[in-house]
Amino acid sequence: MTDAAPTPPGSPDPSPGWEALDDMTTTAPPVPPTPGSDLSDTIGLAAYCRNASKIYGQGDTEVRALDDVTVGFETGRFTSIMGPSGSGKSTLMQCMAGLDTFTLGQTYVGSIELSSLKDKELTLLRRSKIGFVFQAFNLIPTMSAEENITLPLDLAGATADKQWMDQVVATVGLADRLHHRPNELSGGQQQRVAVARALASRPDIIFGDEPTGNVDSKAGTEILQFMRRAVDEFHQTIVMVTHDPVSASYSDRVLFLADGRIVDEIRNPTEDGVFDKMRHLGD
């Protein structure tokens, strides 16, 4: 907890603040086993889940979107999740990010177990520990780029760390467009604002759901480069769902999902390597 989430000073919220949230955390093992990889060299996990399943329906109509998945995401690394449509990759990300809940299993973000959290605690967690970049419509149309970036902080009633903000904004390269509204920005610019927003509160982990899925390739490259820099220079942790091998090649590690299970992974991927794996995923 290098970066304790700010609670608004004198907030009347009767519910537990961030500190209390830590206290409520169930005891968690420091490093769980992650299948298919040797984690002895990792520095720790920003988030992980254990024996997690997501089940829709009951009896005959039961569908297992995720089936007994155990996976961890290393701190300070850029992880991609790939897999064909319906493989459960988005579900996995959403559940890990506290937007949805697993039917079975445990989820940890940092040392906090998510399944026992109520909506309010989950919200506070998302606000302070998790960043998001969605495929599209990431921004509130009535707010300027700057307001969108500081939105999570504003919601918490916290003031932005000026130095950090300047650094983020400079890296995103939008210093001159900060006062524009989303509809005055290009698709790529909008996505970069979204990434900047995800970074603004220095979360423990950032989740991206096909962040480049809706922009042209040049803009896509810019965004991916920016995410890469966030990991390398700011030591952020990013998990991205994508179906594009080129995007995946920017990450440190690619996880492959099929039929709700993790079936493979590559470290330090190359475009070709990812293509290759994709082709043989069904085998």
Partner: protein, 946 residues
Amino acid sequence: MTIIKLAFRGIKVGLGRLGLTVLAITLGVGFVSGSFIISDSLGKLFDGIVSEANAGLDARVQAIDELSFGQQPGVIPDTLVDEIQALNRVADAEGFVVAEGANRFLPLDADDEPFTSTSGPTLAFSYQGEVDGREGGFEQVEGVAPTGPGSVNLNIEQAEDGGFAIGDTITFQTPEGRRDFELDGLVDFPAPGVYFVLFDLETAQELFDKAGQLDEIAIQAAPGTLPSDVLDAVEPLLPDGVEVIDQAAANSADSEDFNQIISILGNILLAFALIALFVSLFIIYNTFAILVSQRIQEIGLLRAIGATGAQIRSSILIEAGLVGALGSVAGIGAGIGVAALIEALFESQGGFPETTTVISLRTVLIAIAVGLLATMVSALIPAFKAGRISPVEAIRQEGSHPHRGRGRIIAGSIITVTGLAAVGFGLSGSSGVTGTLALLGIGAVFTFVGVALLSGLFAGPAVMILGRSIPVGVLGTISGVLLLIGGLALVFGGLSALVFASGATGEITIPGQNGADDQVLTAPTGAGKVLTILLGSGFGVLGVLFLFSGPRALADGVRLVRDSFTGGSERKMVRIARENSARSPQRTAATATALMIGLALVTLVSVLGESLRASLSQVLSESVGADLFVNGEFGEVLPDDFAIRLSGLEGIDDVSEYRSADVRVGGPNGEIYGVDSFTASTESRIIDYGLDAGSFDGVADGTAVIVSRSLADDRGLDVGDRIALEFEDLETEDLEVAGIAGNENFLEGSFITDNGLFIEHNPDRGIESIGATIADDVDFETVSDAAKALADDYAGVQVLNNEDLQEQLETGISALLVLINGLLGLALVVAFFGVVNTIVLSVLERTHEIGLLRAVGMTRQQLMSTIRWEAIMVSLFGTLLGITLGILFGIAGVRAIPDSVISEVSIPWLTLLIIVIMAGLIGVLAAYLPARRAAKLNPLDAIASL
């Protein structure tokens, strides 16, 4: 067919979203049909009573009541009964007299006080029962008819209420002082709340000062004789000014006044119903505009695969028509329900004969037509917009942005200006009563529509300004506190009503105020019980809603005010809310307009009421010198000796009797003016004439008159001119204009003479009121009390001092304001649903955004808070528009109303402050359910809703 299928599908999909729209139409149409049903049913009820009362009557002799100038009312000599009775064609004839005015003959109760009905007058008649097989009149339920000079009958309701029993000797207060009568019988007549005192004919003639006269003769035809033959036979016997009419004419004459009242009542209700319906137009417009914008892609797709713009347009209009039909049918149901409940309540009170709810075809047709028309007209603009959506919009991701066309500005300006011009022209009063009202109505409608169009232009900036943290924070805080208090009161009241209705409490005794009798409430039965339970539950539910939303609003408000200084997160919520309402200015404007209309009218009425109050009190304090005022309680003429007795009181300085009549100037076809007549009309002591010119010379002698300023201007009269006034006795006096009275408060457009001259020409005109001054060197209260004691000797005479009069006027004005505002309440309820509707729809429209906000860390409480602030801002905008327009209308109204009624503008600031606070309440309550619904949205589903 496909179009209709599309329309149906649209409704099915949007049923939840259309629910509040249907409710708005239901309320409006329900009120429209309810006003028709109530007036039809009351009309039928009264026709029933009248025809029952006149059932056995074949013909009736009565004085002609419409008199031309100078015509004396006819007198029916009581010898005429015998003459008519003697006719072969007549089986029976019976004379009848009525005491002029109400409350002239009142029984004294145990405390020696006159006993009156709480809800109606006490009328005195000669007894007219079921004689010789003739039905109608009074039904003798106990004892016998009055037997002679010392005998009286009362109606059973009065006897029960007052505790009078047969055989009692009752002292009556009469215009001639007190007299004892023995109660020999009790009668029944279907007129709830009205008390009857019945004497035998001779006694009545003497008491009513009608010796040898009759007011009516009821005639029954001999068997086998046609009523028309009876009329022919009676006609030749009648003196001048007297007529004979048949049963049908008698029925319509008897019910005419009442039917006129019913029709006025019906029209008033209808007017308020139409206002509510007008308000719902904006809600319907909003709904369809939003539905169309939500369906842009769907419509674009339909256009792409070959639907024509006209087909899209029709499908939207058909959808509107279906919604309108649904709302109208439900509205008629609601109207019938409400009317039936009111009637059942009347019946359970007793006294009213059984009534049937009259639902005429006209009611149903008008209600449906009005509902359909309202919906389709308001859906017209959205439908045309939908028809212009291009196929490419299907592929476009973003919804098209609303463009603020120059057309809107031009149309809005033209409509507003036209509306204001119509109001102005109407106020100039040059178009008669109907024309004025029509112009005012049309002008107001145009102004409202025009402002609705224009306000879209400044709704955004306005909300940005209004939605500052501190004002809305304070408003939210106040609303929260009021909702908490109100919620507790409502829940308590609701529960009490339910317990009371269950009968568990038995009787409740309410101690009488100011020495009045204690009121005993017994647990209601029948319709009363149903109504009490309904009201109780309604209060309870409302109270719970208040209690749920109050604390949140209070917490938000306090937090916002605090965060405004400390820079906390609640300011961000207000920012978000402000941006949201500024984002769709046209929608915000239409919602605000719905609220604006109701509140503009409430403000207008309050301004007029306050100005009237201020003007009257100014008149009382400045123009009127009198300290005491004597009037008939029901406007009756005053006893001849009252002024003399009053002036005999110690401490009374000056007494003036006031009489009025008509005079004609310019011969048989000349113009008719009013003439006011005072005693001692030579000085400005009783009333301040405010002489502009001339003097009082010659007025007291009856050789000169004072002319009011407006009349003098009208006829070009000046001091010293001579004018020939023809009085009602058709005698003409050539009089000199002695002076011109500039103070027109009482005297507008009339001649002012001295009583001496007046009485000479109008010997039968009674005293309408008496004014008196109290000497400076005596105790005001003592003299005033002595004067009031004097009035106790006369029935129906009241003495008021300046203070009493002011109080009485203010009570009257307040009661009127409460009534009108209560009726306007329906328009406000509809507007309230409009705010809810808008918030619901705008939440739906922003589902994705809400998901995003929740994903990045907005808590449920924060989300609800943004929605609440948004609703408060929209309400506040509408309220301020309404107040502004209301004040403008109010000032225009005061200018247009003659100075003799309202002379100065007075703005009721306190009322306006209350209205502003109400905006907060409306916002908080309107946001409650939509906010809860939004908070329940799963962020993931919300994001996935793309």
